[in-house]
């Protein structure tokens, strides 16, 4: 009985740690971009279209109030800063900061 308890408990802890590790990994799969000039929804559509063309991008969220773009990446995918800058410039905006924390 004790053995069963220890094994079950150990498995639960292990599974819990694995899930946490997976969640931590997922929370890293996004970044935010602060841009200047993001005042118009109609014009900001270009950002969404250009990011969604990238194979590594899962989806994006645009916050016009904060002029902030959140880009979520597919699992184990990345997008380098140079590519991000190019996308923002090709959309017609100026990048202020890329935040990956």
């Amino acid at each position: 009985m004790k053995l069963f308890f220890y094994i079950t408990f150990s498995i639960l802890i292990l599974m819990s740690n694995l899930t946490n590790a997976e969640n931590k990994e997922n929370t890293k799969d996004f970044f935010t971009i602060s841009v200047n000039g993001l005042v118009c929804d109609f014009c900001a559509r270009s950002i969404e279209k250009l990011f969604m063309k990238r194979e590594s991008v899962l989806d994006i969220d645009v916050n016009l109030e904060k002029m902030l773009i959140t880009v979520r990446l597919k699992k184990n995918k990345n997008l380098d800063n140079q590519t991000i800058k190019q996308i923002i410039n090709d959309s017609g905006y100026d990048i202020v900061e890329i935040n990956r924390e």
Binding site: G37, V39, F42, E48, K49, V62, E65
Partner: protein, 215 residues
Amino acid sequence: MNKIILRCFFLSVLIFITKSHARPISYAGGWTIMQMNDFNKHSFHFHFSPSIKYSIGYKSEFWRKKEWQFHGTQLNYLIKRINTSKSQTNFYLKNGLGIAFSDYKNFEKKIEPNFFSGLSFDWEDRRYFTSYENRINYNSSIDKFFVQKARVGYSPYIGKYGDLHTWFMLEIQHMPNVQDKMVFTPLLRLFKDDYLLETGLSNNNNFTFNFIKRF
């Protein structure tokens, strides 16, 4: 004649709408359809932006008073864009080259080269909008003119990304060599996603209807 032109424009717009699943805006590689109608003219502009600095495309117009048409190429150039943390400002140069066609009065199916050029400016933040544009048009005999227009706009609420956005605008159009030198048009602008619509009624009782689709 007028009705035929209008039908052609609407048909063209419908064809493009049914084909357009995506591709917006004036981004590098984007396509745009602009269809405008006011007391002066009906116009259709379909352009492609190879980069954020340029767009090039087909332009057609039907000028209502002298019943002439323009068909040609329009090149738009972004002279300067100023992005700030609260606003965006743009300066553009627009040039068109093509043919003018008219069978108005003694112009019996007359065709001649036509050129136009103009500057435009716009500034907007999330609450206010202002713009100005002018155009000088030249052909040898059908119609030569200068036209300029200015707009101010106000958004009654600040919408989020994806919401329906609403703007109230006032447009003033000035054309020195016509009877109605100054025409005032209050406008309602609505946009959502990749679609923009404008509608208004001018002080000379003419409807304005503009439609833009970016893809």
